[in-house]
Symmetry: C2
Subunit: 774 residues, 2 copies
């Protein structure tokens, strides 16, 4: 079998699986008590958001990744969901442990509420049923469910190499059933390697707490316990149930019988460690019979308290090869394997730290010996298939060699010293801080522009499906309930017309259109490349005694623009025209408008954000030098290098040295308290400039003008650059110098100073992706 | 005065006037009978189209230019209106003469019909009233009305230099009243220089014909007659009326009195040779009193039979300086000038060829002496103000020196020899042929792309106001009843979204979107610039045994595309990727689709045109060589050079010599009857290829697919390039290789073979500029 795979698939193809992870996490307050607040409205209805929802309790967040291709993508997406959610829950935290935080009595545990729809009522009643049958505290134990299927090509090639005496669908079902059976056999290893619920808070179920031997500050444990979630605290059916995994017909029949015999209420209630998933899980058994197995769900994985995402990437990588091991591993025909495997699970969960014995085909083997044997086989697979996962395998081996290196033992040690609540709260706080520091980006999407990352982030919040169709072009596709929108570079959408963009692209046309609509633009002239020198001079003559701007008709990013704030010589003006002509065959000569420049972001009929950009600068405290002040300012995580962050670090280069020298200053000068020292002339963010939010400070008068200006060009998404002398509008002078059809939005989300403005959210509103509350 | 102008205004400023011309022209049939057909529907309601309408009769076309800046613009626009109209009247012609063609009895002359609105009813009743009061035949005499005002800067500078003892508005009124008075005095010269109605057809009013002395074949005239339209056949009030032109108050009062005294029914009925026009001509007298004079209208100009536009450009140029002469010329205080001037008009109109005497301030002067005196003064103005109109002045001088050089005499001579109807019909036919030969272009708009010219042409037909806001960008603005649309390059409009264009621009995204919508696209792979050589080769490997296309993700015009119709070597394929990477950082490798390529133009939800392009070729007749056949093919007026025409001339260059050589042929080869010889491999129009219309030949199946493809990308205007094996769709194979967001439209209007398709009209429909029928 392994040779068939080796010959027919590349490393990438083998590791390209379909993996989706569900991760639960309780919301808790600053003291580690279960939060009693509502699930944030921003995520919409719980049955409608496929990414961020709740599980049993209103306070039990559940993060669900879509089916992704590999461990890295899954890890990144999980981290994104964490980052997004944790910044929307005020001063609460996400409890980083499968076993719950400080719990109130069952009656006070808030059950998740739903919309008053039929589905919503069902969801609520199902939870009520669980509460009564199993108790509330057990329901808020959290974990990770790992869903996966192989690259279809693997099954396909194995089938081709087989005797083909069954149909492909049956062959495929048999493959996944084998994996399921093997998972049941070897799951004890996963629990050992990934288990992390080795202590229980005292507020957990009294009957459990009473049984535990040792007390550590605010929590309890018994010797050698490794995963209470997979042991006595965990979820299990009231009786041991053994479905028949021989073939799909037998499996369906066995589950049907459990329901008929009233052992479970529905197939959904079978708490197996592995679940066989169909294409239509609402009608699981019919779908399994008709369409076969879609994917498998492993349910033994604890939350890893030592990772923000709840599971480490290196462990996700291990699971990728573990899956292949399960597919390849030949089975013995020992009949009692399900019962023995359950025993093994409990042995590991309850006494995993100890050097216990497990049952292998009815015989006792030393846990560590068996574990090493399995890992050796996995190592061989890794080498044969050239999967390059050696690091991940070695990492697991170390945990086997030394139980102290398990997550379970590590958290146990910390809890013993600092207490259960303190230990976990400290981790939760660090994760939240890290999320805040990285609030401007999305993991795994770093190759996209920051503006596009904001759109995707907001889309995830609203449960919109995202598809990056051309990363190099920042071209994405959104879909929700059949409503498809394509977006390029965050602000190029279906809500603007092509001609509207062309009006804005051509500064000459922009000015004509604005003038036609009685909106102030700088007075000016146009010069085309064919104009002779005499006529050129006669035009420039008019501007010799004024502040003047010379710019090409249609470039952006300030290319080819010359600004003369003081009257300039004819020679300088002519030079500036030559520069501008490098970018276009028509250039504009304009009076330089008075005042400060503000960037208004108009979305639809509203101004959502206003920014002013200020050159790189430091503010003195009377003690530190410019050099030291810059160093401190650069520590802001929003400041980075190369447009990967909303702001850029300030560099003390030749330019700034020269600029300071003109003011008779140098880098070692110590500015007085509150003295502002500018380090450059230009206010570009790219050279360390600051962005300052003015959205609430500019008079409505100018906002109305910005909206009118955008609408004059027919624009729904528009960056309006306006020169304003007096933002209170006592003096109503203004001049619009440019309309931008592709305004950056991330700078408004994360300004240096002032309130961030959620432009992405406004863009999604405009695109009519409302938050789906029900 | 002249010095004030000279000092303060440039030549261009002086000659930049506001000039609008109205030109009438009867529609006649192939035998020169007044047409009895309806005014073409394509021009919409007569009261709604500002450019092309009718005057008194349903058959009396009236062309109206907007207010334009100079003689050239006016001439070009008039010619355009002629060209547009004459190609919409089937096998009729436009009668090139002020005096009518063969007329039926008054009762058979069709009065223009109008919509059943209040305005429409008024228009009809007014014509009925005229018919009864003046007779029908006089009503269909046609002419030119010349409306103008000066560059406001002239009046402004004259005012500044004046004593300023009146207000500006009064000063301005006085200027125009002076021009009006001087026009009355000197109009006889204009009639002499531009008169062209020296003979009258026998079917004209019997009482006129009876009075004329000489008969020439089918027409009559009297000795020396120069302009019957300005003489006894013309329009005049029943009694001589002398409005008071002293000042605006007096003028308004005098007109009021005419109405009160029942001499005229309304101010509109005053048939003065000059009309004082207000800003609101619907309420002329009130508006004149309140707002002053807007512009003047000269009404003495005959249709010039020797010019398609009805007036020569050189004469329009002369009028520009004549206007300035009228403004500058000092007046005598001779009281009876109006009556004398009327006499002078009749003298010239009735006996202009003779060396008659005219009345100047009550004294007789020789016509030619006075004329020369005026022209000398105009020559001086020309020199002083450096207007560079010497040619035009000299041209007029020659007519004075030799009456045989007048238009009136020239037409008279021709009519005497060939008859009235024949002579004029011959001219009309030549003008129509010329219009047809130039049907693809618009005079004065040649700097715009041919596609944009088609849009403007269709806009004129529908009476839409056009404003070219940036000719270099082919950026135009349309306006009708407040409905404004901007268009760039003919097909970039408000009807497409920005994202739709971006989807089409990115071939990778286009393919994904089409595939998502179950539309066939060539199978293929993408390669990004970062892919290493090994992976590149492994991708290209798949294509080594097939026909393949390698192209950049996002260029147009075939740049960077390599097509291998035969299996290619790895070396060639790698070379092709390098070429493609010059244009983009992502390239596509695709199977080459089978069949012929067709360009579908989708507008809204319809396919309006389908073209197939064929390489440059000739079809043999058994007699002529390739060289001779090419020469004949190149005579098609649609073939030109440098994209100024819908097709390009075929050049027998090295490439074609080589291509023929490969077939063992050369330029002197004589192809057999119906033998097709191709001269190139590529089918580009730019290298002499032929465009062949297939709109009616392609099965509806493929048209539906083209529309679906466009709509998948959200496009309303789209050029769909489809490979089709069997246009009857018995074989339904097809593949869409590209969507174009800026398809050329002129090639569909004027294909080499097959029916032209009016894409521009469909674009205007899409933009909701319907033909306004009422």
């Amino acid at each position: 079998m392994i040779n068939t795979i080796k010959i027919n698939l590349t490393t990438e193809e083998i590791l390209t699986q379909h993996i989706g992870v569900e991760r639960e996490g309780l919301r808790c307050d600053v003291e580690g008590n279960l939060a009693t607040t509502k699930h944030p409205d921003v995520f919409g209805g719980k049955l409608l958001n496929p990414y961020i929802t709740t599980d049993f309790s209103e306070s039990q967040l559940e993060f669900i990744t879509p089916a992704l291709k590999n461990a890295t993508q899954v890890y990144d997406f999980l981290e994104n969901l964490y980052n997004i959610a944790v910044l929307e829950i005020g001063d609460e935290y996400i409890w980083p442990q499968s076993m719950p935080c400080t719990l109130p009595d069952d009656a006070q545990i808030p059950i998740a509420t739903f919309c008053h729809t039929e589905k919503g009522a069902q969801a609520y009643c199902y939870r009520m049923h669980l509460l009564q049958k199993y108790g509330g505290k057990k329901q808020v134990v959290s974990g990770i469910h790992y869903n996966f299927s192989f690259n279809e090509k693997i099954i396909d090639e194995l089938y081709k190499a087989s005797s083909k005496d069954t149909e492909y669908k049956e062959f495929r079902n048999d493959c996944y059933l084998k994996v399921a059976r093997n998972y049941l056999r070897y799951r004890w290893l996963i629990i050992y390697l990934l288990g992390g619920s080795s202590v229980v808070h005292k507020t957990y179920e009294k009957e459990v707490i009473d049984r535990l031997e040792n007390e550590y500050i605010d929590s309890c444990s018994s010797k050698g316990a490794l995963s209470y979630r997979n042991g006595e605290c965990g979820y299990a059916n009231k009786n041991d149930l053994y479905p028949d995994y021989t073939n799909i017909t037998a499996y369906v029949e066995s589950i049907n019988n459990f329901v008929i015999e009233n052992k479970i209420e529905s197939p959904k209630e079978l708490y197996a460690q592995v679940r066989i998933k169909a294409y239509n899980n609402d009608d699981l058994l019919t779908s399994l019979k008709e369409d076969g197995i879609n994917y498998l769900e492993f349910r033994s994985i604890d939350i890893n308290p030592f990772d923000k995402a709840g599971i480490k990437k290196i462990d996700l990588e291990f699971l990728s090869i573990f899956n292949i091991f399960l597919l390849l591993k030949e089975e013995s025909n020992y009949k009692n394997f399900q019962k023995d495997s359950n025993k093994n699970q409990f042995t590991i969960a309850q006494h995993g730290f100890l050097d216990t014995f497990l049952l292998m085909d009815g015989k006792e083997v030393k846990k560590s010996d068996w574990a090493k044997e399995i890992l050796l086989e996995i190592k061989n697979i890794n080498e044969t298939l050239n999967l390059e996962l050696n690091d991940s395998i070695e990492y697991q081996l170390k945990k086997i060699e030394d139980p102290k290196k398990t997550y379970a033992h590590k958290i146990f040690s910390k809890v013993r010293e600092n207490g259960y609540i303190n230990t976990h709260l400290e981790l939760a706080k660090a994760y939240k801080q890290d999320a805040y520091n990285n609030r401007y980006l999305l993991k795994g999407f770093e190759n996209l522009e920051l503006s596009t990352q904001q759109i995707i982030k907001e889309s995830i919040k609203r449960g919109i499906n995202i598809n990056v169709i051309d990363p190099l072009d920042n071209f994405i596709r959104l879909e929700q309930n059949g409503h498809i929108e394509y977006i390029k570079q965050a602000t190029k959408t279906s809500k603007d017309t092509y001609i509207s963009m062309l009006i804005m692209e051509n500064k000459l046309v922009t000015k004509k259109v604005l003038s036609d609509n009685n909106i102030n633009v700088p007075k000016g002239d146009e010069i085309t490349a064919v104009v002779d020198i005499a006529n050129k001079k006669s035009i420039l003559n008019k501007y010799q005694e004024r502040a003047v701007v010379i710019k090409p008709k249609s470039t952006n990013f300030g290319l080819g623009i010359s600004i003369f704030k003081e009257p300039a010589s004819m020679e300088d003006l002519l030079g500036a025209t030559e520069i501008a002509f490098k970018y276009d065959d028509t250039i504009l000569v304009e009076e330089f408008a008075k005042g400060n420049e503000y960037r208004f972001i108009v979305i639809g009929d509203k101004v959502i954000g206003i920014l002013n950009r200020v050159p790189a600068n430091v503010i003195g405290n009377g003690n530190l030098s410019i050099r030291e002040l810059v160093e401190i300012k650069n520590q802001d995580p929003l400041r980075g290098k190369g447009y990967k962050t909303p702001l850029e670090k300030i560099y003390l280069d030749e330019n700034s040295a020269l600029f300071l020298k003109q003011q008779s200053l140098n880098f070692d000068y110590i500015p007085k308290l509150n003295e502002i020292v500018y380090l450059r002339e230009n206010s570009n963010i790219s050279t360390g400039g600051d962005s300052i939010d003015y959205t609430d400070d500019i008079a409505p008068y100018f906002k109305e003008i910005a909206v009118r200006a955008a609408h004059s060009a027919g624009a729904n998404i528009c960056g309006v650059d306006m020169m304003i002398e007096d933002i209170t509008a006592h003096n109503k002078n203004y001049s619009i110098i440019e309309l931008n059809f592709n305004p950056a939005i991330h700078i408004h989300h994360y300004p240096y100073k002032g309130k961030g403005r959620n432009i992405a959210s406004a863009v999604l509103d405009l695109l009519e992706y409302k938050i789906q509350s029900c």
